[in-house]
């Protein structure tokens, strides 16, 4: 098990997430190229941007615009073909797959369109899963999971399995699972894509609160204007490039 040595390299200290240090996320002329020759596809075609700690950013664009690739890269699930991605000042391309796993374990939280909870597994167990990988003891896991459930307003539903919860409730459990590890960055990939409009706004309100009250950095992928409106800043993608950056801070 290489986790302890790899961990030392990654520095678990979150104090430098603040505005004073390097930006939480920095893309520097990032390319992601699939295939070669005639059939070459440039999913990302020289993208540069920064996200500071505490921001709420919406990544927008049509399908195939490069927003999903950007999201995967932000989530350390994918690495650039060319260019550099710095997460907390670390060049992600230099990390091993085990170290990437540790970055995800300690610093990143994911919320997906399809919820992606473990089926036939209670909400509580779903929340404990990432904490098991963090090697926390059972009592701590239980306490943190209950806290997270409280934060998303699902206290009392801890023993329900996903099948016994509504779509909105499932997404709340998924958000709780993403924040239970106290990540530096929450990545939400079309989190309202499977929900009706009322539920969508509840979920967005929850994310906005997490950002505002807990200082959680949130990156949201969406193609709906009213959903993106909850963010402070928008990055518009088309054909693998950023075509527009709008600061909507005033709107919030």
């Amino acid at each position: 098990m290489t986790s302890s040595s790899a961990l030392a390299d990654l520095s678990l200290d979150r104090s430098d997430d603040g505005v004073s240090g390097p930006p939480l996320v920095r893309f520097e002329n990032v390319y992601k190229i699939y295939g070669d020759g005639e059939s070459q596809v440039r999913a990302l075609d020289g993208v540069s941007f920064e996200i500071k700690s505490g921001e709420f950013v919406a990544v927008m664009g049509a399908s195939g615009s490069g927003k999903s690739t950007t999201m995967n890269m932000l989530g350390c699930l994918d690495v650039p073909t060319r260019g550099q991605y710095f997460f907390r000042g670390i060049d992600v391309a230099t990390l091993s797959s085990d170290q990437l796993a540790l970055l995800r374990r300690y610093f990143l939280g994911f919320v997906f369109q399809g919820f992606n909870l473990l089926a036939r597994t209670s909400a509580l167990e779903n929340l404990e899963l990432p904490l098991i990988y963090q090697r926390l003891d059972k009592a701590t896991r239980r306490r943190r999971a209950m806290e997270a459930l409280d934060t998303v307003g699902l206290l009392g539903r801890e023993h329900h399995t996903p099948a016994e919860l509504s779509g909105g409730q499932q997404q709340r459990v998924a958000i709780a699972r993403a924040i239970v590890t106290r990540p530096s960055l929450l990545l939400a990939d079309e989190p309202t894509g499977n929900l009706d409009s009322a539920r969508s706004h509840e979920i967005m309100q929850l994310l906005a609160n997490l950002n505002k009250e807990h200082g959680l950095t949130v990156v949201l992928v969406t193609h709906e204007d009213d959903i993106a409106a909850y963010a402070h800043r928008r990055l518009e993608f088309r054909d693998g490039k950023i075509i527009g950056e709008t600061d909507v801070q005033h709107a919030a």
């Binding site: 986790s3 699930l77 085990d98 796993a101 970055l103 990143l108 992606n116 909870l117 473990l118 990988y133």
Partner: protein
């Protein structure tokens, strides 16, 4: 983490209890078969040991042939004669009892009943050497032996089959072409190893046997007993010396006969049973292999089914190693459960079968442990490939998997 991995594996097995059960069926059957075979094998070995000690643990068997083992090239060495028996009796005072032994199969007829039976040519001391009591009647007299009188002693099977509810003493039976009078009945020895019936036997005085049934003076075996088990060693040496002299074996040359004591006979028997047990276990072991492939197959299906779950685990920070470990532990646990079930079923089966085939039930904990360990290893070996496949999944694609 290890505890959690075990709990996760356990939960996963429990969630798919029917499928898990069917998956390990191959392992269960394989282990059960091995346990039954080994248990019955050791039971048979123990029984052979006690059979042989029943035959007389202070008995020697004299056989022609230079081979040290039973069933050697007896044909090349001359057989014994009655004169050898008489010389041994005369020259070796440590002999407690001595009996020649010639044997063949012949038809035995009494009234309307007829049986293919073992017919033995021997002397009156046979029942002493072989530690075999009479339930009624008497053994041969010296006069009957020397004159070759047509009298016989019958085994208990002959009595119960041909004279049900009657005392056969004094009755006349036909053995091959000769008609003889029954003078004694042997007590039952019970079923003997390898299915032969020891009690289906008729004994004739050796001379009667030689002249009227076999038509030759050959004596293929001589049984000799010592007064005590401790006397067996010295007796063996004395018998060897006398026989070497009588058969004119030059100094330094190998004897053209064997003097086997019963421990040697039982060793041969036990090694034969051992070979059979190993052979049958190997066949049963093939089922373990097949069972392992079954586990691999189901684990591969499971990895495909749980692709999305694997994606989630990788996304929330599981390392490849941890995902691999999870599947490996699951496979090992599955097949260890199978092994355990196999041991229980095997022991129950052996306990049920043993009395039916007249073999004692002997539990061997080491074999049980070995079977359990082996089945767990089967799980690890066959779980490795599916586990590695799970660990190497691309999380992005795994999360997109429907």
């Amino acid at each position: 983490m290890i505890g959690n991995t075990l709990i996760m594996a356990l939960n996963e097995i429990r969630r798919n209890i029917l499928r898990s059960g069917l998956t390990v069926l191959g392992i269960v059957i394989g282990v059960a078969a091995v346990i039954i075979i080994v248990t019955l094998g050791s039971g048979t070995t123990a029984q052979v040991g006690s059979e042989i000690s029943k035959m007389g643990s202070n008995m020697l068997t004299l056989m022609p042939g230079g081979n040290r083992r039973m069933g050697g090239a007896a044909g090349s060495s001359p057989p014994f004669e009655m004169a050898d028996v008489e010389a041994l009796r005369r020259e070796v005072p440590d002999i407690a009892a001595i009996a020649p032994y010639a044997q063949r199969t012949a038809q035995v007829i009494a009234g309307n009943e007829n049986r293919q039976s073992n017919v033995v040519g021997t002397t009156g001391e046979f029942i002493i050497v072989r530690n075999w009591n009479l339930t009624s009647g008497r053994t041969f007299t010296l006069a009957e032996e020397q004159s070759g009188k047509a009298v016989c002693i019958v085994g208990s099977t002959i009595q119960t089959d041909m004279f049900p509810g009657q005392d056969p003493i004094g009755a006349s039976i036909r053995v091959g072409k000769i008609s003889c009078e029954v003078i004694g009945v042997l007590e039952s020895k019970g079923q003997v190893m390898f299915g032969g019936d020891q009690d289906l036997v008729v004994a004739l005085p050796i001379r009667t046997y030689q002249r009227r049934l076999a038509g030759s003076d050959r004596i293929p075996q001589i049984f000799i007993s010592a007064f005590t088990p401790e006397g067996l060693g010295p007796l063996k040496e004395e018998v060897t010396n006398v026989m070497r002299e009588r058969r004119r074996v030059p100094e330094g040359e190998e004897s053209n006969f064997n003097v086997l004591d019963m421990t040697e006979v039982s060793e041969v028997m036990e090694s034969t049973i051992g070979v059979m047990t190993t052979f049958l276990s190997a066949i049963a072991g093939v089922s373990l292999l097949v069972g392992g492939i079954g586990i691999m197959n189901i684990m591969l299906v499971s990895v495909t089914e749980r692709t999305r779950e694997i994606g989630i685990r990788l996304a929330i920070g599981a390392t490849e190693q941890e995902v691999m470990m999870q599947f490996l532990v699951e496979a090992a646990m599955l097949s260890a459960f199978g092994g355990f079930a196999g041991i229980v079923i095997g022991l129950a089966g052996a306990a049920a079968v043993a009395p039916a085939i007249n073999v004692p039930f002997v539990f061997e904990p080491f074999t049980a442990f070995l079977a359990f360990a082996f089945s767990a290893i089967v799980g690890v070996v066959f779980g490795y490939m599916p586990a590695r496949r799970a660990a190497r999944l691309n999380p992005i694609e795994a999360l997109r998997h429907e």
